[in-house]
């Protein structure tokens, strides 16, 4: 075996092991400690399942359920918005495409907080959108778009969309447009071409974008924290709250472990669904 190619992965592997795997193992261990009594973050030398089993009550299950539902919604919205956009980008002439890509990636140059606070102002109860709706008499009371599910959803979709569009665009770009031409020549209407050629050939990209949305949405923190409601929060927000507000570090660690497990299970389910739908493995040769 030639060790040299492995050396190329060295810097990345060092980072991954040092900054992800080791801390993660530590988190897993912490999740089994008893809470701290007075000093420190936990009671050393103890083992308990209490932190994990606490999640099995109604509140805990509600939290997990909400997180999965939130991630799924994000995934669906992201795919539904980015797919037509990616197809539109493919149809653009290269001179226009440059501007379109720049426009789509531009929000990524602004700080996440700037974007989220901007959305909060724009869509808030006294924001310009609500004021316009009120002035035109479309609504009699301000639409409550912030401090709830809708706000959290909009915020996160806004953050994920550029990545999803670029990912899907690269995928649909791989599709030879001559395939769609030839389908039309064989008598297929535009809808039949989309249904029988474009959609099935985009399936791997759609699922990859869906996975991106799901992972991101389930781990969402800032959107739900800043634009969501305090009653309905994702696991990430609860993790932060348990650790920094209540000082229950082992409980917080247990929640983190559960979140990782939940994301893993959802990803596996999505991959299974793709393989079922398309009849071949996701990420395999097409």
């Amino acid at each position: 075996m030639n060790p040299r190619p492995y050396l190329l992965a060295g810097p990345a592997a060092t980072l991954l092991i040092g900054l992800l795997v080791c801390p993660l193992l530590l988190v897993i261990r912490v999740s089994f400690y008893q809470p701290a009594n007075g000093r420190g973050f936990f009671t050393p030398g103890t083992w308990t399942l209490a932190n994990h089993s606490a999640l099995m009550d109604a509140h805990g299950l509600g939290l997990v359920g909400y997180t999965i539902a939130f991630g799924t919604m994000i995934a669906v919205v992201v795919v539904m918005v980015s797919f037509p956009l990616a197809l539109f980008l493919r149809s653009l002439h290269s001179s226009l495409l440059r501007f379109a890509i720049a426009g789509i990636t531009l929000p990524k140059f602004a700080s996440v907080l700037v974007i989220l606070f901007g959305l909060q102002q724009l869509l808030g109860d006294t924001g310009p959108v609500n004021r316009m709706l009120l002035t035109w008499g479309i609504v009699s009371d301000p639409l409550r778009m912030m401090r709830g599910l809708f706000g959290a959803l909009i915020g996160e979709v806004f953050l994920i969309l550029p990545y999803a569009v670029i990912l899907l665009f690269v995928q649909v770009l791989e599709m030879d447009p001559i395939l769609e031409s030839s389908a039309r020549g064989l008598g297929a209407s535009r809808w039949q071409v989309f249904r029988r050629i474009t959609l099935p050939l985009s399936m791997p990209g759609l699922f990859l974008a869906g996975q991106l949305g799901l992972v991101w949405g389930m781990g969402a923190f800032l959107g739900p924290l800043l634009l969501g409601s305090p009653e309905n929060t994702t696991l990430s927000v609860e993790i932060q709250r348990q650790a920094f507000e209540y000082g229950r570090w082992p409980r917080s660690a247990a929640l983190s472990v559960q979140l990782i497990l939940a994301i893993g299970i959802c990803l596996a389910a999505l991959t299974f669904l793709h393989n079922k739908v398309s009849g071949r493995p996701l990420g395999g040769d097409r």
Partner: protein
Amino acid sequence: MPSSELVRLADLNFGYGGAPLLRDVSLDVPAGKFLTLLGPSGCGKTTLLKLIGGYLKPQSGSILLRGKDVTHTPPEERGIGMVFQNYALFPHLSARRNVSFSLDVRGVAKSERDDRVERMLDLVGLTKFERDRLPASLSGGQQQRVALARALVFRPDLLLLDEPLANLDRHLRDQLRNQLRRLQEETGVTAVMVTHDQEEAMAISDLVGVMNGGKLLQIGSPREMYHRPLTPFVAGFMGPANIFSADFPGASREKPLMIRPEQVVLGEEAHHYSRSVPAMILSASFLGPDMMVQVTTNAGLSLMVRVRSCDSIVHGRDIRPGQEIRVGIPSHALWQIPGSDGEGIST
């Protein structure tokens, strides 16, 4: 009397911004015939094919199909079969499902559909074993057969072929070429093929059209195109040609003369012809069945001569550079090219 033309193109012009890709192309394709459009890359032949198929729209001019104006009809309503250069098979569908696609979108009943698909696959010679495979696991030749079956299964009266044999190796190409012609005759479909290979064009076609610089220069039977080219470009594109001007009785000095290398006579036999001159061999290359010999006459005329390798002249004395030899030009083999290639057309 109804016209026998299946396709009639009138004054087609096409181009994006800059230089036009097609200029005033007019053309009739008689029903049931095999027409091949021949020309160098960039001459507009594929563009013309895509215009007929409806994949592109002309800037001006009209396209008549079965006597009906289809200039602005989308491809799905033209009912034309097309084989694309890279075949454009649907990568996610098996060979069988690729072929059945046109019947599926037309809602043909399952039993009839399956029957027609299997018979068409029999006709192109794809084995049962290969029919369930995805295109990626088929060889180039098999993919070509699937593409052909897919284009013919819905019984179009016109078949368009864009360099269908270009991606195959030579041996397979010759074999599929004959099969393609047989299939066209059996199904009675009118075919328009595009190629840059003049041998392929002559072997397969009833009619050959030579294009260059977006113009259709000449159209005719393979023999006509080879022996009676109207411009020097057509003469050169149909095969190796000696083109020169000389004073011959009954020939105009302004119009160039052409003789094909295989029509020039070399050696003692040249004495039989009134036009026989001494010359010297410049070079000779062995091509298997033939030898291509470059000679220059004492008057300074340079000629390519094709001699059969088994000819006694090759055996008797070695043909080698520097050797003196007699060259005869049979008058009946000389053709005076009537037209010029015109301005703006490169050769």
